[in-house]
């Protein structure tokens, strides 16, 4: 249970997701029967040790489903999820136990994440009792210590119930619970969305501090791009269940290459007018029950051409560590529309 054992060097992947697919059956009578919502479609991502990967995207893009799939709630329809060298994608309880030791999640709504009938002490200690193998005194010491780390005193808060906590305190308790078992991977599902502005800032600072101090690995789901900029080392944008672009945070914010990323970023209010070309997304995302052919973003893309409907763009590297799934990636905010469609298709088939 200690960290004394030699761990592989930084940079080795803690989370590896390979072609993960998550679908939900839509039970309907008649014509639509057997239809499926494709919530996560062939997503492959890696998160290195000590890295914070943020996943951003609109509501309904499958971010939260992706996070819950890692938790096995429910397990993926296909594909592999490996955490710290252990496959956790199975439905069996043994997979869940491996997951319990290595993955913890911080949920969006702390009030739903804390059992109202449990004391703070019991809540924070739950991952330890689930894994077992720790006596009561050691457990209580660890709980006191981790509560101290999130800035709450064990003697004042240990006996409280969740309804006696403020939103910010409750989220700190949720963070303490996530960290108490020293997991390899911490999934944060919009950890500050449900909090007021001042608690948001505190919780973000706390998450950043804990990451620095303990070398935590985060998978960070967010739609607040300011928070992402503060916490993430790398960002992946997701649209309708697919990864559009992954890049180091700075690179992504300074030069987005996927039109969807650019549109997301241009939604950030700027102090300098006309700094970036304004890209507006029209309408709503198409239904994930029947996603568009080819590129899923093409129906709302300003740069879409015929090839986008026919060939699905694969993720390819445009700069070191910067991957994009687009036939016409942007350079400096402008589309590479000079490239004829046939050529792009040819390049695509070459790549495949």
């Amino acid at each position: 249970m200690t960290n004394d054992t030699a761990r592989p060097s930084a940079g080795d992947p803690i989370l590896v997701m390979q072609d993960v697919v998550q679908e939900f059956a839509v039970r309907r009578r008649g014509a639509g029967r057997g239809a499926k919502v494709s919530a996560v479609a062939n997503v492959s991502i890696q998160v290195a040790r000590g890295e914070a990967l943020a996943i951003v995207g609109e509501t309904g893009s499958g971010k939260t489903t992706l996070a819950r799939t890692i938790l096995g709630a429910p397990p993926p329809k296909s594909g592999r999820i490996v955490v710290d060298g252990h496959d956790v994608s199975g439905r069996r309880r043994s997979a869940a136990r491996e997951r319990g030791k290595r993955v913890q999640m911080i949920f969006q709504d702390p009030m739903s994440a804390l059992d109202p009938t449990w004391s703070v002490e019991r809540i924070v200690g739950e991952p330890l009792t689930t894994v077992g193998g720790m006596d009561r005194d050691a457990r209580r010491r660890r709980i006191a210590e981790v509560l101290d780390r999130v800035g709450l005193s064990a003697s004042r808060y240990g006996n409280r119930r969740p309804h006696e906590l403020s939103g910010g305190q409750a989220q700190r308790i949720a963070i303490a619970r996530a960290l108490v078992g020293r997991p390899a991977l911490v999934i944060c599902d919009e950890p500050v969305t449900a909090l007021d502005a001042s608690s948001q800032a505190q919780v973000v600072a706390l998450l950043a501090e804990l990451k620095r101090e303990f070398g935590l690995t985060y998978l960070f789901i967010a739609h607040d791009l300011a928070v992402v900029q503060q916490l993430a080392d790398r960002v992946a944008t997701m649209y309708l269940g697919k990864i559009c672009e992954t890049a180091p945070t700075e690179a992504l914010f300074s030069s987005p290459t996927h039109p969807y990323t650019a549109a997301l970023l241009s939604a950030i209010p700027s102090f300098e007018p006309n700094e970036r070309p304004r890209l507006r997304l029209l309408g709503e995302p198409p239904s994930p029950i029947s996603p568009p052919s080819g590129c899923r973003f093409r129906t709302r893309c300003a740069f879409a051409q015929d090839v986008c409907a026919e060939v699905e763009p694969k993720l390819r590297e445009v700069a070191p560590g910067h991957e994009v799934a687009c036939h016409f990636p942007l350079t400096n905010g402008r589309a590479a529309s000079y490239q004829p469609a046939e050529q792009a298709a040819a390049a695509e088939s070459d790549a495949a």
Partner: protein
């Protein structure tokens, strides 16, 4: 963000030794338990809960301790010559029935039997029904569907007819009455437990516990039961009242508690022939039953309105 940093987590162990947190960490088990009890106790301190609970307590106390304390005659050892004495007769404060049995004794001992049947039958329904309902709500795919269809079958029977059939098959006795009434109360508990379980399993704390490989029974007993106990116990109080009425109905029809053992139901049944001559014989057990069941329903309402501890 080097790897060495992650060892601060271990060294924090030593840092915390002198702090107040370590004193907290070494609190005795007794203190922890007392703390919890005090918290729970506080949430019950309100008139809407205390008043009906006190009434129920007094009724139960009088029924169970009364006959011995007051030195009452056994309920079925009356003198036929003293038949139908009015209320306030010397030696028989509530009079006698047609067979000369002391009514106060009949009422109190009958109360024991009625309460026993009501609580016993509800206990059976609660334990079996809640177990089925929680499992059905937790394993929603196959197990849950099958269990709920089984409960639907029980639910589809008119319950008093079902109880009649069971009671007629088993023969009239106190224990058989408990089984008969208990059996048909299973479905109600199963329904409410499943509905509440479905609500709780969607909370993130259950999702997290499940994802971490916490065992199903630990989740069911640790997370789900404490969170559904309120509504389920509130329903149980109503179910006790309902079971007492069912007992009265069965006894009235001669399939419940057999004479000479009195129960509120069979006192009413046995006295119906004298409704014009001595209406108090029917009114007294009916009032006792009304007071008990009304208090239980009030208590049930108040408990449901209570904020979670």
């Amino acid at each position: 963000m080097s790897l060495q940093d992650s060892n601060t987590f271990v060294s924090a162990d030593t840092r915390v030794v002198e702090s107040e947190a370590s004193r907290w960490a070494s609190r005795s088990r007794g203190r922890v338990l007392a703390d919890g009890l005090r918290r729970t106790g506080r949430s019950f301190r309100r008139a809407a809960i205390i008043v009906p609970a006190a009434i129920l307590f007094v009724i139960a106390l009088v029924c169970f301790a009364g006959p011995a304390v007051l030195g009452l005659p056994a309920p079925a050892t009356g003198n036929l010559a003293d038949y139908l004495l009015p209320i306030g007769s010397p030696g028989h404060p509530l009079g006698t029935n047609a067979l000369g049995n002391d009514m106060l004794s009949q009422l109190l001992v009958g109360g024991q039997v009625s309460i026993l049947v009501g609580v016993g039958a509800t206990a059976i329904g609660l334990v079996v029904g809640v177990a089925i309902g929680m499992i059905a709500g937790y394993y929603q795919r196959v197990v849950g569907t099958v269990l709920m269809r089984v409960l639907d079958v029980i639910f589809a029977f008119p319950d008093i007819i079902l109880a009649l059939a069971i009671a007629a098959y088993l023969g009239p006795s106190v224990v058989n009455t408990i089984w008969a009434i208990g059996f048909f109360s299973i479905a109600g508990f199963g329904r409410i437990a499943r509905a509440q379980t479905l609500r709780i399993t969607n909370f993130d704390y259950v999702v997290a516990a499940r994802a971490s490989g916490r065992s199903a029974w630990k989740i069911l007993l640790g997370h789900i039961w404490p969170n559904i106990a309120g509504p389920v116990l509130a329903y149980a109080l109503i179910a006790v009242g309902y079971a007492m009425m069912a007992e009265a109905a069965l006894s009235f029809l001669g399939l419940g508690v057999p004479i000479p053992t009195p129960s509120w139901g069979n006192i009413i049944a046995g006295s119906q022939g004298f409704i014009t001559l001595a209406p108090q014989l029917i009114l007294m057990p009916a009032l006792a039953m009304f007071a008990t069941i009304a208090s239980m329903n009030l208590l049930s309402d108040a408990l449901q309105a209570r904020r979670p501890s």
